[in-house]
């Protein structure tokens, strides 16, 4: 008898709650993400001090900061448990799909928290106005979904690596590029107003769905 979907959901929810609790208590990965975002924002803002940047450049900068700050936080999703030795226990007591989706939701939640923290600072530092708030929020939502689903699978891949330095962003970047390019375009529209770009949103949504499905299928093979 295999586990029912509702049991899988319960397991995933329990893992999410556990990760959240530990995340709050250890703070290391939250702090790393937040400080990484702050550091890179400060560096970019200082470097371009006084310049008035075009919406296109601003959109690209925003997503570069999101990507690398996310990398700093997500790469440890499985590593922390592997180092602590708890990953094998978790894998024994929970079904693989529950582990994957529990971690994926947690990654998404941390990413959302990161962006909520980062975006206002970004808008203030670069004196950037937003014409289409709804478009910006939707774009960021689809972007975060894609980064967290691809990122969770990638984090599972890098866990077994003996040399880890820098490996995670190297692996994640090409895979998330199809999200990145439309996201930057849409963010540009959101900053400058004008064209709507619904087709790019649809493309992002489709690619997100493909990434989630692929992560789910491929994760079973990693077991």
């Amino acid at each position: 008898m295999k586990l029912s979907n509702s049991r899988l959901f319960e397991q995933g929810a329990a893992i999410f709650r556990k990760d959240f609790l530990i995340g709050l208590r250890r703070r290391a990965s939250f702090a790393a993400m937040a400080m990484f975002a702050l550091t890179s924002l400060a560096a970019l803002s200082l470097a371009t001090r006084g310049e008035i940047l075009e919406p296109k450049i601003l959109a690209a900068l925003l997503w570069v900061v999101i990507f690398f700050a996310a990398s700093a936080g997500i790469s440890g999703t499985f590593d922390d448990e592997e180092t602590a030795g708890t990953l094998s226990t978790l894998k024994l007591y929970a079904a693989p799909q529950a582990v994957l989706f529990g971690k994926m939701f947690f990654t998404f939640a941390s990413l959302a928290a990161l962006i909520i923290f980062l975006l206002p600072i970004f808008l203030v530092l670069f004196d950037c106005g937003v014409e289409e708030i709804f478009l910006l929020v939707t774009t960021i939502f689809f972007g975060a979904v894609g980064i967290s689903s691809a990122g969770t699978l990638t984090a599972a891949l890098t866990t077994s690596a003996t040399v880890k330095g820098g490996l995670f962003p190297i692996l994640l970047f090409p895979v998330t590029l199809p999200i990145f390019l439309p996201a930057i375009r849409l963010t540009e529209f959101a900053f400058a107003g004008g064209e709507c770009g619904a087709e790019f949103l649809i493309l992002m949504a489709i690619y997100d769905a493909i990434l989630i499905t692929a992560a789910s299928i491929l994760y079973d093979y990693l077991d």
């Binding site: 699978l153 891949l157 040399v163 190297i170 692996l171």
Partner: protein
């Protein structure tokens, strides 16, 4: 097989140098296109070959598939570098700059990144069984990007690249000699790739 390939390659090179007319107004160096197109073609073929064997490895668990997948990726990496360099030279000759992030330049650059990431991952995992699994999974994950990079990019950016060999009217737009030489070179490069794959 080796002798045949050497003879075929030599014949094609000779034909390109002596018989094929120079590309319109670009001079003899522009004949690098006969090197660029085949290497670019093989780097894409190698990418799919690697993914094919990755899928086969995950299904069967046979390590020979993992080795073939890795081999295709290593060859692909070499070919994609050659294609990129020759493409940049051709770009300089025709459009005046080595690099301008034209959609196809972007695609090929992403291919370099993926190959590089895949090979880095292989180097970073020491346990043989795990390395095989992990790299097969990454290979298949990265294949997902291909349709998007091929279909999204051209919609988003204006391309300087020539139309595909067969344009929408279904009729080749270039001279017959050039077309034949190009097709022969592509076949030759594919055979070279195939030969290298089979070689121990």
């Amino acid at each position: 097989m080796l002798k045949f390939l050497v003879a075929l390659t030599a014949a094609i090179i000779a034909a390109i140098i002596f018989f094929v007319p120079p590309v319109k107004g670009l001079g003899d160096l522009a004949k690098i296109i006969f090197f660029h197109v085949p290497t670019a073609w093989v780097s894409v073929i190698a990418f799919f070959t690697s993914a094919f064997y990755a899928a086969k490895f995950l299904r069967t668990g046979e390590f020979s598939c993992d080795e073939l997948s890795a081999k295709a990726a290593r060859l692909g990496f070499i070919f994609v570098l050659l294609a990129t360099i020759s493409g940049a030279i051709f770009s300089k000759l025709t459009w005046g700059t080595f690099w301008n992030w034209d959609p196809r330049q972007t695609t090929i650059f992403v291919l370099i990144l993926i190959y590089g990431a895949y090979l880095t991952l292989r180097a970073a995992v020491s346990a043989e069984k795990i390395r095989a699994k992990v790299s097969a999974v990454y290979s298949l994950l990265s294949v997902l990007t291909v349709p998007f990079l091929v279909f999204i990019l051209p919609r988003m950016y204006f391309s300087l690249h020539p139309e595909p060999v067969l344009n929408s009217a279904g009729r080749p737009e270039m001279d017959a000699e050039i077309l034949i030489a190009l097709i022969a070179a592509v076949i030759d490069a594919t055979l070279i790739f195939w030969w290298l794959m089979r070689k121990k």
